[in-house]
């Protein structure tokens, strides 16, 4: 295994985290908005499902995803019947798995910030002639910016760090599903400590920088603290 394969693994990791974060922000925003505003009696059931990846061993989640995404599973079968491949052991499969796995890390900060903002400013905006979309984009989004930043970085960082789910559904295909955490594991298995060191230190630094950015920026944007 060359340095090239390590760089490849790093690229796949970053690509996976970026795509996952993007999808999560798109799904997570309306979902978190609904959770923050809905009065539905059984809302807690949805909240429970979303929080499951926080407590579930990744191998359990990965196992069920493997079955769902495989050729005989509902999602994998659907993909196959539409002329595609079964999704297990593909990059697309990894994205689907990561979306489930990191969902709570994006939805929860968003839900918290939407709840904290409350209806008042939105109603005030309505009485100041702002229509629903205008209110959302010009009032809710800017006020919720710290929440979005937290959600995006947590979702990204958590996806980078996943191991169990990837191992179960992605396998270890260089150039397609081999991510950094798996590469580190491989290096340690084959006693290549120097390269394990390099990748580990890289991830450590990356995670540190990202979290520092969140805390630093949230301090600057702490508009909610008034």
């Amino acid at each position: 295994m060359s340095l090239h394969s390590d760089l490849m693994a790093l690229w796949i990791t970053v690509k996976l985290a970026a795509i996952t974060t993007l999808i999560l922000l798109l799904i997570g925003t309306p979902l978190a908005w609904w959770l923050a505003r809905s009065q539905w009696r059984f809302k807690f059931l949805i909240e429970t499902v979303i929080a499951l990846p926080l407590v579930l061993p990744p191998t359990v989640l990965g196992f069920y995803l493997l079955i769902m995404l495989g050729p005989n599973g509902p999602i994998g079968g659907l993909s196959e019947s539409m002329g595609g491949r079964p999704l297990a052991f593909t990059f697309s499969g990894l994205v689907i798995g990561s979306v489930f796995y990191s969902l709570p890390f994006v939805v929860q900060p968003l839900q918290n910030v939407f709840t904290a903002i409350g209806d008042n400013v939105m109603e005030q905006a309505a009485t100041l002639r702002a229509g629903p979309l205008d209110r959302f984009f010009n009032v809710m989004l800017p006020i919720a910016r710290p929440g979005f930043l937290t959600a995006a970085v947590l979702g990204f960082a958590h996806t980078i760090g996943e191991f169990g789910v990837v191992l179960m559904i992605g396998g270890n295909i260089p150039g397609e599903t081999r991510v950094v955490s798996i590469a580190i594991y491989d290096h340690v298995e084959s006693l290549e400590y120097t390269r394990a060191h390099l990748l580990s230190a890289g991830l450590l630094l990356l995670s540190f920088l990202m979290l520092m950015a969140v805390y630093g920026l949230n301090r600057r944007f702490s508009v909610l603290r008034s």
Binding site: A126, P132, S226
Partner: protein
């Protein structure tokens, strides 16, 4: 240009039923204890309560009826909430701009400069919202609502979150809005001084039901309404500044029943001043006392009287057409032989001009 409201708002505990009209240049107050449905009513007028049934009409334009509901952002209201609710991501200037920008240009009658002047905000324009005091926040919120040139201004307990010294100041600003702009106002409060000071008309609300409505001056002196039971039961007198006694620092106010002297010298001659006379500050005598330290004494006729507990009587007096309330002990009432029709003199110990 008047606002006509006839609404039924279902709530968990009781329904709110109100029918009222606010005419241009008038302040209508909605008064009642906390939780009586005042805020629900305001929200329904603004279109924020989608369970409200009934009719809301502004200057003949239908905002709501049996089969039409205009959403809040299309209703021409200026709504001042209890807790300012300013946008934390914008500075003062951009908060003021928010509604103004969104109002169509041919409906703009109030300019931004005018709104800023009326509430004395020019030193604060660049300020961040979290650097404002409670009173300043509320001034910004009022200016922001005014700057949209609304057809009606809705004030929902705007002084609830303001500390006492600044309450007077903000009341003064609201009074000056009332004088400068021809915008009808609806003012909700559970503080009787605010209502007495600001409003021309009054709607009394209790558990969602409209107990009474009419002119403020009239309702406040009705013995059969809850106001008479308040410790600070008072009559409100509209008067005009008729002169000054400079040497003593007094102003002379003319009203229907005579003249009142107040310890204020700066009131402009000819200006209209509303004063409040608390029932407990009015004592009664049978003859005109010549050796009293009290300055304000006028003849009056007893109109009616009710018991206020066992020891006290609340007396409604007519002083040349102006109603004044007096609270005396039951024992004094008997001693003076107070009955409707009796001629007496009212001695007023303290008068507070509401300016």
């Amino acid at each position: 240009m008047s606002l006509e409201v006839k609404l039924n708002i279902p709530r968990r505990d009781f329904d709110v039923n109100v029918s009222l009209e606010v005419t241009p240049g008038q302040v209508t107050a909605v008064f009642g204890p906390s939780g009586c449905g005042k805020t629900s009513l305001m929200r329904a007028i603004a279109g924020l309560e989608n369970t409200a049934n009934g009719d809301v009409k502004m200057a003949g334009e239908i905002w709501q009826d049996a089969d039409f509901f205009r959403p809040p952002h299309q209703r021409d209201v200026g709504y001042v909430f209890q807790d300012a609710s300013l946008f934390p991501h914008l500075d003062v200037y951009n908060n003021l701009q928010f509604g103004l920008k969104r109002q169509v240009s041919d409906k703009r009658r109030v300019s931004l400069e005018q709104a800023i002047d009326l509430l004395a905000l020019s030193p604060l324009l660049k300020r961040r919202i979290d650097k404002l005091s409670g009173g300043e926040k509320q001034r910004v919120a009022i200016a922001r609502a005014v700057a949209t040139s609304p057809s009606v201004l809705l004030f929902d307990e705007p002084l609830a979150a303001v500390d006492i010294p600044h309450k007077q100041e903000i009341l003064r600003y609201i009074q000056s809005l009332h004088q400068e702009l021809d915008i009808p106002m609806l003012y909700v409060s559970h503080a009787i001084e605010e209502v007495a000071r600001l409003s021309d008309n009054l709607v009394l609300l209790d558990k969602g039901q409209q107990l009474a409505s009419g002119e403020t001056v009239d309702l406040l002196s009705q013995l059969n309404l809850p106001f008479a039971r308040y410790e600070e039961a008072a009559a409100v007198v509209d008067s005009e500044v008729a002169g000054h006694e400079q040497d003593y620092g007094l102003s002379l106010l003319r009203f229907a029943g005579g003249h009142i002297r107040v310890t204020r010298s700066e009131l402009a001659l000819g200006s209209r001043v509303r004063v409040r006379i608390l029932a407990r500050d009015v004592s009664l005598t049978l003859s005109h006392p010549e050796d009293s330290s009290i300055l304000n004494i006028f003849p009056a006729v007893v109109e009616s009287m009710v018991a206020d507990g066992t020891a006290l009587r609340l007396v409604r007096l007519n002083a040349g057409g102006q109603i004044i309330l007096s609270r005396v002990t039951a024992k004094s009432a008997d001693k003076l032989g107070l009955v409707p029709g009796k001629y007496i003199y009212a001695q007023v110990k303290a008068v507070s001009p509401l300016v």
